[in-house]
């Protein structure tokens, strides 16, 4: 294959790895369900995993961003609490960051 400037090999390998890995999970769920029933412990673990992963991702980023990010994250959460659609929540979060900045660095 001729080298294409829009392809960077490690990037493509990463993308293909992600694609295969994520598809295998989708495949395995149905495949296993056709054969076995998961134990309550496994089910509980899988139930807790996404929330814990998301928290683990958010907390260091927010703490590193200081008060500005903490405030914006809380505003985002508040918008979720009042059942705002995803789009609105994103606008609230980004808007809070912008508003803070326009006050501190006008």
């Amino acid at each position: 294959m001729a080298p294409d400037p829009s392809f960077h090999t490690p990037t493509v390998v990463t993308i293909l790895g992600m694609a295969v890995g994520v598809y295998l999970i989708r495949f395995a769920g149905l495949f296993l369900a056709r054969r076995v029933t998961p134990s309550p412990t496994v089910e509980a673990f899988l139930g807790h995993l996404p929330g814990a992963m998301f928290t683990a991702l958010i907390v260091p980023a927010v703490v590193q961003g200081g008060l500005l990010y903490i405030g914006a994250a809380l505003a985002t959460l508040a918008s979720v609490k009042v059942r705002a659609p995803l789009v609105v929540s994103l606008l609230v979060g980004v808007g809070t960051v912008l508003a803070f900045r326009s006050v501190t660095h006008p």
């Binding site: 139930g47 260091p60 990010y69 929540s89």
Partner: protein, 244 residues
């Protein structure tokens, strides 16, 4: 299964109906797609690579997470591992689709599971519980999300380079905003409090002490294991009080 229920089918009609019913949600997801495209540009992905990732991975949280971890040199294994782990939930989600996909042939069922994402899964499960018998609905619903996700990601990548520095628009926060909003929606009540706190604290401490993305694994596992321990203990206690 109820013997008087008609058999599960997979028709083009069902695919179309699933597609149309998912359009409003897909339009909402497109905003998230724009954000992904923007971030992909900031991390140096080409237009082709941005589209390739959306088309083949088709998992918003994995893709955003990958970009968050994007670095030079690229931590390939870490990103793939994190992308897989954050989507372990798909395991239970496709398992829950068994009543629809189980009776289908291999190509239709294992082809359909490719389209599993939070939004179309939720819409399809609702349709299934309401008595829908056409499994084509799930594929159509997924196709709606997939097409919007791909196009909006490409649009964000194209449009993103025309924008000023991300800080000027507050866009440095958008990755965190997406995850914060998604996490808020995942909140299942008090039982999540301690696992989430533990995940956050463990992640924070390990992000200070360790290199790379280890904080993510350590935080996620700490929180989930605490959650399992908490659930098991509660189940045992309830079991004892019922058994007495």
């Amino acid at each position: 299964m109820n013997p008087i229920d008609p058999p599960i089918r997979f028709t083009l009609d069902g695919v179309v109906r699933g597609y149309v019913k998912t359009l409003p949600v897909a339009a909402g997801v497109a905003v998230f797609g724009l954000a992904y495209g923007l971030l992909a540009g900031q991390h140096g992905l080409s237009l082709t690579e941005t589209g390739l990732m959306s088309a083949l991975v088709f998992a918003g949280s994995s893709q955003m997470l990958a970009l968050q971890l994007w670095d030079d040199p690229l931590p390939v294994a870490g990103i793939v591992l994190a992308a897989v782990i954050i989507n372990f939930r798909y395991l239970i989600m496709t398992a829950a689709l068994k009543p629809w996909l189980g009776p289908l042939g291999r190509v239709a069922s294992y082809g359909s599971v490719f389209f599993t994402a939070d939004e179309n899964w939720a819409i399809s499960i609702a349709e299934m519980r309401a008595g829908g018998r056409d499994a084509g609905f799930f594929a159509g619903s997924g196709l709606a999300l997939w097409s919007f996700w791909l196009v909006s990601g490409l649009a964000g990548r194209l449009f993103g380079s025309a924008l000023p520095a991300p800080e000027r628009l507050g866009l440095d926060f958008i990755g965190t905003a997406v995850f914060t909003a998604l996490a808020g929606r995942m909140w299942r009540g008090r039982r999540d409090l301690w696992p989430w706190l533990a995940a956050g604290v463990a992640a924070l401490l390990s992000s200070i002490a360790l290199p790379g993305a280890w904080y993510l694994l350590i935080g996620g596992l700490t929180g989930s294991l605490l959650g399992v321990w908490q659930d098991t203990r509660r189940a045992t206690r309830e079991g004892l009080s019922h058994g007495a």
